[in-house]
Symmetry: D2
Subunit: 479 residues, 4 copies
């Protein structure tokens, strides 16, 4: 864990007639690839017949022309990209989940994490339910299915299910004839929708995916809202709106979302540049150049440069041919991985006092390595600035800050961290200024629990705190 990972990106297409919904989804997922690189999937609905494919890997690699041809055309489609925690289960846990139940078929794509999935699963298992995956998405599909037995419609089943599932979820649900977008009452993760000039509706985790398919942004799905695409109609169910205060994950703006996306009305690029400007105010320094660590440190670096008046420079070239890079057995893996992917532009660095802006510092090992590269390239001084506050608490809402033991800020003072990464100075964005990224008062409308421990929901009570899979494995070990 050098970087904090998001769990997922979701995408849905609702067309008026049979068309190339698979390739639209492909482009949407391609634009959302940064939200999950481990597996991906597309389900095409051709008038009630579901064709789908999902597998471990990148969208570009998995969806070959042959696979796309097999998916064919349809009037609806749902897609998903996922960050998975274990290699072995890439394919198994790939989404969307497709299930058959008494009232028909359903495909489900989910971004987020429930806090009561363990309890729900136990309850379901007590009733004899079986589970094929370790993902909480399967739990959600069960809950919806159970509600569907009593509810007059799939949307009402989703509405009822929202009384039972707790935590973070941005969902796209597809039945034989409808598409439904739903966002949890806290609005932990983004979800928006738009429309193309052909009148096709698009639901996506981020606006950059709307752009990628030339769809015009309509609006964000509100926290607690259910939007139903059905025939020519778009309905909204507002029963859960206002149930909770809004708590958009602030790390969406700091790191997860793409800078060209606009999340809940705020440009991600702007939020990051603002973070950089705040950093310049909080942690000024005399220096010759401000550089960002690609890719997500660049926006904040520009903010820092503008605010401080220190020139912005290109400090690193990132190798753009990313992907699985071969590591020779026995190599000092981490060291090489950094060097292979990042190289210093010595022209920018040599003999200079450098401000290096990164989006966050997790373990500190990567930062230490990058600082070393700068020093080797002749930097006179290196001042490290993090546009996120220190990580101190686990996240229960869909990102993988799950263990405190590797978090450098939990175990070390600022001075120690400075020492560990060999920086001349170090500065983190303060909690007090976090709200500025979204233009809101401190603590209003966002979740910053990973930084301050203020969880907007009850948190799972058991010892191996938070992780669902961890719970399952605990149970197994007891036997």
């Amino acid at each position: 864990m050098n970087k904090i990972h998001e769990e997922c990106g979701v995408f849905g297409v609702y067309a008026k007639e049979k068309t190339t919904v698979a390739s639209t989804t492909y482009y949407g997922l391609f634009a959302l690839q940064h939200r999950g690189q481990e597996s991906c999937g597309i389900v095409v609905n051709d008038d009630g017949v579901f064709q789908y494919h999902k597998d471990g890997g990148l969208v570009n690699d998995i969806f070959t022309p042959e696979i796309m041809a097999k998916l064919g055309e349809g009037n609806m489609a749902v897609g998903h990209v996922r960050y998975g925690t274990t290699g072995a289960s890439d394919r198994l846990n790939a989404q969307p989940i497709v299930v058959n139940h008494i009232k028909g078929k359903m495909a489900l794509a989910h971004n987020g994490n429930l806090v009561n999935s363990y309890e729900l699963r136990q309850e379901l298992e007590m009733e004899g339910s079986i589970f094929h995956t370790t993902s909480d998405t399967e739990v959600i599909s069960y809950i919806i299915t159970k509600e569907r037995l009593k509810a007059p419609s799939i949307e009402e089943a989703v509405n009822q299910a929202m009384n039972r599932i707790k935590g973070a979820y941005s969902l796209v649900v597809m039945s034989s004839s409808k598409m439904i977008a739903a966002r949890d009452p806290h609005g932990f993760h983004p979800l928006c929708y738009g429309v193309t000039k052909e009148g096709t509706y698009i639901v996506a985790s981020e606006t950059c995916a709307l752009d990628a398919v030339s769809a015009k942004f309509i609006r964000d799905v509100e926290p607690g809202e259910i939007i139903v695409f059905d025939g020519d109609e778009i309905r909204t169910i507002r029963d859960h709106i206002g149930e909770e205060k809004k708590h958009l994950c602030i790390f969406e703006h700091i790191y997860f979302s793409r800078p060209d996306s606009i999340v809940d009305g705020v440009s991600v690029h702007h939020a990051r540049a603002t973070a950089g400007a705040c950093l310049a105010m909080e942690h000024p320094v005399h220096a010759d150049v401000v550089i960002g660590v690609p890719d997500s440190g660049l926006d904040a670096a520009i903010g820092y440069a503008r605010q401080s008046g220190i020139p912005y420079g290109i400090g690193f070239i990132k190798n753009k041919y990313i992907g699985r890079t071969f590591i020779a057995p026995g190599q000092k893996v981490r060291e090489d991985k950094v060097r292979i992917k990042l190289n210093v532009v010595s022209e920018t660095i040599k003999g200079k006092r450098v401000v290096m802006v990164d989006d966050s510092i997790v373990r500190g090992t990567t930062s230490a390595r990058i600082v070393k590269l700068l020093r080797e390239a002749g930097a006179a001084e290196v001042h490290v600035r993090s546009s996120a506050p220190p990580f101190l608490f686990p996240c229960y809402y869909g990102t993988d800050v799950d263990s405190q033991e590797n978090l450098i800020a939990v175990n070390h003072t600022m001075d120690e961290i400075k020492e560990i990464i060999s920086a001349d100075s170090i500065g983190y964005l303060s909690l007090d200024h976090l709200g500025m990224l979204m233009g809101v008062p401190k603590g209003e409308g966002y979740c910053s629990a990973c930084f301050d421990g203020n969880y907007p929901t009850e948190v799972p009570s058991e010892t191996c705190k938070n992780r669902f899979e961890c719970k399952l494995s605990e149970r197994r070990n007891k036997k």
Copy 2:
């Protein structure tokens, strides 16, 4: 459908300690490959931790050294080969099925077909169960899970489940710590077990798989029997034994099983040679040579030759580099497929009166094509003999004789068939002699429903008679 297909082969390994159970399973499945070529899977149990891989394709192709390395070692394993009806669902419906339920994990491999799976599924769905596949194996896994809620052990859950599931099933069930083999009370499909000299127990569909892993055959699992491998103990549950009369699928001896297997005490090679001998007695002819259509007509041809005194010859060479053969768009596909795979040994045929023995005649198109090859090679006469009686009725127990409309014998008289395939004479094994293959009186101990319509169970009642998937698709279409 030129050939009747079996649905599956199952295999299980129960070792006393951690060892190479994955490769043992690999070799077992490789030996059972003839029972299903569309998909395969292996689940390894390393002290309660399940690793598995399943995909569409042949054992040799799917289980690469990399995959085998990932599966690692364990103390138990279950494997499966499957014949699937549609390409799209190869991977989806691949077995073994692995499920998580309230009492732990379970892997399930199944050969056969339930006759009440539709009713069971509907019932389960009414309780809110969701289904990820269209296979009845998932239904079985639910039933066992539901019973497990009440039962004190997994074996008792299987025992109870057998009260509810009707039809043909040879099962291998693996829990965290036990392996269970179960065979339906009719004993439709074979199942046996043996032991290696290291004391590792092996369960397999056929004895040829025991041979492949150097295991000594112990005995066949009895119809209705449940065998539990648990610690150092092997227990047997006999509650369902004798519940029904035995009805081993006679087509196992005629075609499905490998000639080197011994099924329920009868050598398959011997059964086929006996069929050939019966044919020689029922349908004698003056001829110069007896040839078999490779591979499964060869044994019967030897029986015919020995009984008749007409010399046995090698009439065809079958290309041994089988696999998916490229067919140029626009070719006369079937014609070419036969010619590419079979070639006549003209030395054996030219100017000769030939008796050609095949295992069965389904549509007649392949037979017609083969007779044509013989005539082109200069055969003076061609007398066709089928070591199976005419197919007249659909099978509900796990083979794919599911539609009468393509069965040549349903729609044509013997004379017409002779004409269609251009034979000089034609002869089928009679129903009266079927029992001789197994050394039993007529109608005792075997199922010959596909030939005579005498179904040993109630059969599915609805219109689109028999096929589960067909039922599901009907339901969908009604909506």
Copy 3:
């Protein structure tokens, strides 16, 4: 080296107009796959434009629909299957070789082995030629090219080249507008041609490939003959005919060629059955059943059975899903390989005195293993018969009997061999009867040098006797 390997199979198509020559070649190569499984290639000539693909692997695996689509249509094509000695060079040495020279393009497919390739290559290298492969086919392409500089036509260049290249070669040469078939003056390896009913000419190593593409056999290419397909004309150049006495490799009949092929007028099946009959006369024994080791021992077994009157039986089932089988690290590889691929039909063997006919005995290890299988299955006696005489001498003409040290018959007496393979008796076909396979007097018309050391050509003079690659590697090591 458990089996002796052939080096190659060649195939050519000459159509009057643009058509599916690629798929015709595909089927031809598929039928010739037994002559070489390591690599394959197809070159399509569409009015002077060459498209080609070659790679390591089986025809079915290499030539996917995508590759076939890329090859497109044409009016000519040449194909090749190859047995290669080292894995690494599979792709490199794959044929046909395609070269550009001053007078245009040329594709070349070669079956055989030159005895003076080292000298020719040295000569060429002294003139500055560079070599991309280690195959003597590249040497031939150079020689033809050099001659082409002086010759008025490609066929005359081939004719002149035949003055310089010595040894075994069956060639198919394709220029922009012509196809040429050429066979060395000894006629070491087979080559024939035929025509389809559309008037397309086919050149192939064996008649079974003509059958596979529904071509009518016209005749064998004579030793020393060059046949030119040019426009509507078929010309023959007879300058080298009669230059040498015919020396068809007798092992073509014993093992290499498919039993359904007719090589130089003699049915391969018939030759093998004759070998079996000779064995029965030379090495009679009291026994209960005669079985053959699949696949190439079956024909001789039938011959033995008929001659001796001992019943023929099916003793083994060979797993038909061949291909690269996974071998777990640390396994007793060879033992397992035999067991995985062959299983005994115990019904045939148990308690019986068995005559087991195999095509040859090379190292003896496989034979020993097979005998052991028979004994485990309860054979009372096992009498081994080899339808080839003992291998005693290296082959310089295109098969890989290249090292005497592993040949069991070089190092052991008959009694010792009997002991090593645990047979009750052993018998090889005698040299005196070899001619009977082809219906010719002893020593007339065939090469049996690997059995008797009578080489029809000068043999390479240097120490590391025979193998070209060996020579090259020697040279390298001297440096």
Copy 4:
């Protein structure tokens, strides 16, 4: 052709002892991937034994762990990345070329293009040489081989060969025991070497590849210089130094090389920033923000911003998951390709007067598309600046500016171009300032023939001017 392509990158490793030279080469090629994405290859020399692999595709995709394991260790290695013109020949023309000749083995990696390759090839063919590829690298290998017949050493053969081959070449040659780096007397393309702290020498097209393997830069190979790595010795042959005036391709600095490389003493990032500054001076404009088109327009944009005082902004986000992107049949391909790969950061653009800096304008279609994206995002004005002068002449030295018909500047006036791409103003870097990029007087030390037609060598004389393959295809068509 939306972008001008470089043909190749070369890399060599010379270690004192057997080590992981393959993975070193892998990392070097990975860093040079921008110089060629169509194919790649690595040849490992383990004490005279060459193992190699080359294929069409990216380094990351081609060199799997399995392939790397096969390559093994060695004391030397040569690698190559290539931009190829046709898909079909990716694999065929992949480099390094490995040849066997009279004095041993040779591997050859080449970046550049000869101007007399056609004449040399014709001459060689007249002597009977055959060619397996259409690349001029094979011509070079012949010339060196022929010289080697007379020369006492491989380095002297290279030295003599340099009298005959004309044009652009940066070569790495590997024999059994030596590695040789050679650069043509004009020094068209870069070549440098360095050393690791273990004493392993590295030769590479660019310094970024030295950085990637932690090698310290020693110096650039001089135009005309031959450097010989032999035992513990590094010798230099200076016979061809000074033979010609230096003519480094100026487009290396503008576009080809990576900004973190230092080519012939000049930082590529610095050269580009200088180009941007010159543009700001030559083509000033009132604007609100300066943005660069990723990736290679960014450096020049920073130069423009600094010189002009207009703030630098991040205008685009480039999707970093590049690779072959699926394009649905029937789509407006080019439009979508731009939109899928680039998205506007509307925050930066909306309502702003924008200066958009790109590295060059080739056809104009991509520029037009990007301008359109900016306008859709609300740009008030778009001023396009190209940091390269207009392309007007074909290149004969290894880049693919080979046809004038698609070059927008050949066929249109500045005003027309402005109109075509819908810019508010347009400005190209002038020829007069090109020298400033390298800090040299106008026309001194660089080749700018593609901009001004001043070719430093004779150019190929025939009609279908320049391209070797084109010549070959002409010849074929004449027949």
